[in-house]
């Protein structure tokens, strides 16, 4: 460069290059400082267009420009915290041009991080959590280092070598986790970027259920659980040696968690009876509709009425009834069957009809709609004869009743479940069509069967979790599972008084989403 010429043009009388060079070398520092100062002022008001474009195009890796700006990397005067970096332009002291550029880059990077969809799958308290976090999937470039903050309280941790978030979450809730990012060539004083991510840990539903006792003072109070065992003693056989065990009945009823949660009463009910003189068993379970306000009374009236009426009618009619059963055992078709059926209809049908009448009376007495007392009902009367067991049954609503023989794998389901299109829909005893003679008759079942492992009556609080579908109720495999499950907790040996408590305890089994009242009665 012709320094002398330049100097003379600004009226500095440097005659030759020698003198000019001497001047420059002596005053170099001052000149450089002065020029730099002016250059900075100039570049602030005239930003270089090509670099601005680069900053505003996030697709182009931002930091790749850094090598062209070596000074800014070494610049120690960089503003310390990220907030002021982002808002650097508004700072009262004008920032240095190199900083300005980096500010814009950082700003863009920050926006990029904030706009990314970062999802961590929800976890569940006390259940192992594992999630592979791939930061490269976010499409962020030039990340030198990253880590998380906020895991320490959750029971989870981030393993940098495997990129996994693992652990067993201990606290449920919406946890705010911070993803911290250092960009490439980070040194002390440069910003650390941050993105908040919400990690949802679901509570363990088991810990959320409350058990609020039903207030004593409510109308139609009913204890939250009930159990019963009827022991039918073994008889010594004719020759005076050996014992013939006879079947006992056990039943238990437990308020569902959905009711316990709100301190609401149990709607289910049951009743059992063994008529010693005649050797007849009467068993019934009922499920008051959850949506009906006084259904717990409906189920109670139904069970008690059926019990009383059946008992009375068996007392009065047993001779003729048993004669017809005997005849039916010899000829299970035609006339004999019809007569037998008519006789059973007379006993169970009358009891069912009377149950409805009693419920109607109660409704009228209290000035409540009959619907408020809606209940399902399953009834069975049975007796052991020399030629086998006679089992008669009536069933309206959901739940189930079946004769099950573990050894022979015999299963007879005594009727059909009344289900609707949607969950919870069924038919009730109190519906007008149920007491129509043909409808009553249609719902009767009876048969003479060989000895069996158990006759089981259940409300839907048991059948829903254990059988799930109507089709499954007809499968002996499902009954095998049920029996296996029951036998784990209930000792079904003869005359076992403790079986009632064991059965009640069994009813507390856990099944997600199935928290209805549960009632089960077993003849075994």
């Amino acid at each position: 460069m012709d320094v002398a010429k330049y100097l003379s043009s600004i009226d500095i009388p440097a005659e030759n290059d020698e003198e000019a060079k001497k001047f420059l070398s002596e005053k170099e520092a001052a000149i450089k400082e002065s020029i730099l100062k002016h250059w900075e002022e100039y570049s602030l008001t005239n930003p270089q267009p090509d670099k601005v474009i680069a900053v505003e195009t996030p697709a182009i890796p931002l930091v790749k420009e850094a090598p062209n700006q070596p000074e800014e990397e070494k610049n120690e005067t960089i503003i310390a915290n990220p907030v002021s970096v982002i808002t650097g332009i508004q700072n009262s002291t004008p920032p240095q041009p190199a900083i300005l550029l980096e500010t814009k880059q950082n700003d863009a990077f920050d926006r990029q991080i904030k706009s990314k969809t970062i999802i961590m799958p929800n976890g569940k308290a006390n259940v192992e959590y594992k999630y592979l976090f791939r930061i490269e999937e976010l499409g962020l470039t030039d990340i030198a280092d990253y880590w998380f903050e906020g895991f320490n309280k959750t029971g989870l941790s981030f393993n940098f070598s495997t990129n996994e978030i693992t652990g067993v979450p201990i606290i449920a809730g919406d946890h705010k986790i911070k993803l911290k990012i250092k960009r490439k060539d980070w040194i002390e004083g440069k910003p650390i970027f941050e993105r908040e991510i919400t990690l949802i840990i679901n509570p363990d539903p088991k810990t959320l259920w409350k058990n609020i006792p039903t207030p004593n003072e409510i109308e139609y109070f009913k204890p939250d659980c009930a159990k019963s065992f009827i022991r039918v003693k073994a008889v010594t056989n004719v020759l005076g040696f050996g014992k013939n065990a006879r079947k006992d009945i056990v039943a238990a009823s437990q308020r569902g968690r959905s009711h316990a949660q709100e301190g609401k009463p149990r709607d289910d009910d049951f009743a059992l009876k063994y008529l010693k003189e005649f050797d007849w068993y009467i068993i019934t379970v009922a499920d008051g509709a959850g949506s009906a306000k006084s259904s717990r009374k409906g189920s109670e009236i139904a069970c008690n009425t059926v019990m009383d009426v059946c008992e009375n009618l068996i007392r009065v009619k047993h001779t003729e009834f048993e004669r017809l059963i005997k005849e039916f055992s010899n000829d299970k078709t035609g006339e004999k069957r019809k007569k037998m059926g008519d006789s059973l209809y007379h006993i169970i049908g009358t009891s069912v009809f009377k149950a409805v009448k009693n419920i109607e009376e109660e409704a009228k007495l209290k000035g409540k709609p009959l619907k408020d007392f809606s209940t399902t009902l399953i009834v069975s009367v049975c007796k052991k004869f020399k030629f086998g067991w006679f089992v008669g049954a009536f069933w309206v609503g959901d739940g189930g009743i079946g004769i099950y023989n573990k050894e022979t794998q015999f299963l007879k389901v005594l009727g059909e479940s009344d289900g609707g299109e949607f969950a919870g829909q069924t038919r009730f005893l109190t519906m007008p069509e149920i007491t129509q003679p043909t409808e009553l008759y249609r719902r009767l079942r009876f048969d003479i069967v060989d000895d069996f492992t158990a006759l089981i009556l259940m409300t839907d609080g048991v059948t829903d979790p254990k059988f799930e579908t109507d089709a499954n109720l007809m499968k002996v495999e499902k009954w095998n599972e049920l029996w296996k499950d029951l036998s784990k907790e209930v000792d079904f040996s003869d005359d076992n008084e403790a079986s009632a408590d064991q059965l009640l305890k069994w009813l507390d089994f856990w099944s997600p989403g199935n928290h209805d009242d549960r009632t089960i009665a077993i003849l075994f």
């Binding site: 539903p205 088991k206 968690r257 289900g419 829909q425 069924t426 579908t469």
Partner: protein, 211 residues
């Protein structure tokens, strides 16, 4: 496990544009957080979020509460409020997603539908056509939440008699509304709202509705 399907239909156009949409997101998150505290909800609620302006869009298919994360609700780019088309879309989704009882399948609880809109329908003809269809879908309950001052309540009355209205559209108001929705979904028979007392019959596990 029986599912309780919950559909939330949100209008993003018209009176819902802007602040209400932002508030809804806050409200939805609060609702979900509250539902997570209810063990029955946690084990049965499946939720779907559908938005609509000119066209309906399912932001989230029926998703188990446990896995659910509230999606981003975008402001609409086009104008128009096709409520009829949106309801038709909901019917279609219900047909596809809600399981009815069959001998081999366990049926869902009757679905619930919550609609948040200003009640206007730019597609009047379709709107009127789809009304009987909505009735046939057997929703356990349909609640319409009218938003803003210029709402068409008469239109909403054609859909349901359970209508609540929100006068303001700040996040606090929506938080309150969704808090109630969560109660309606999980607990049941409660009353709320600026209009009449609402008795929602959401089906807790033991409810047997009458066929």
């Amino acid at each position: 496990m029986r599912r309780l399907p919950v559909y939330i239909l949100i209008q993003t156009s018209g009176a819902m544009r802007g602040e209400p949409i932002e508030s809804i997101k806050v409200g939805l998150e609060a609702m979900v957080a509250s539902l997570r505290q209810d063990p029955f909800a946690l084990e049965s609620v499946y939720m779907s979020i559908v938005t609509f302006s000119r066209e309906p869009e399912q932001l989230m298919p029926l998703t188990e509460l446990e896995d659910l994360q509230i999606p981003v609700i975008q402001q609409p780019t086009a104008s128009g409020t096709h409520l009829g088309e949106a309801l038709e879309y909901i019917c279609k989704k219900v047909d596809e997603e809600v399981q009815l009882t069959t001998p081999d399948k366990k049926g869902d609880w009757m679905p619930l539908l919550f609609i948040m809109c200003d009640g206007r329908a730019s597609d009047v003809q379709l709107f009127n056509q789809v009304l009987p269809e909505i009735k046939r879908k057997h929703f356990g309950s349909i609640v319409a939440c009218s938003v803003g001052a210029k709402t068409d309540i008469e239109n909403l009355k054609k859909i349901t008699d359970k209508i609540v209205s929100l006068d303001t559209t700040d996040s606090g108001t929506f938080r309150q509304f969704f808090k109630w929705v969560s109660v309606a979904v999980s607990v049941g028979n409660r009353s709320v709202g600026a209009t009449d007392e609402i008795l929602l019959p959401p089906p807790p596990p033991e409810v047997h509705s009458v066929i």
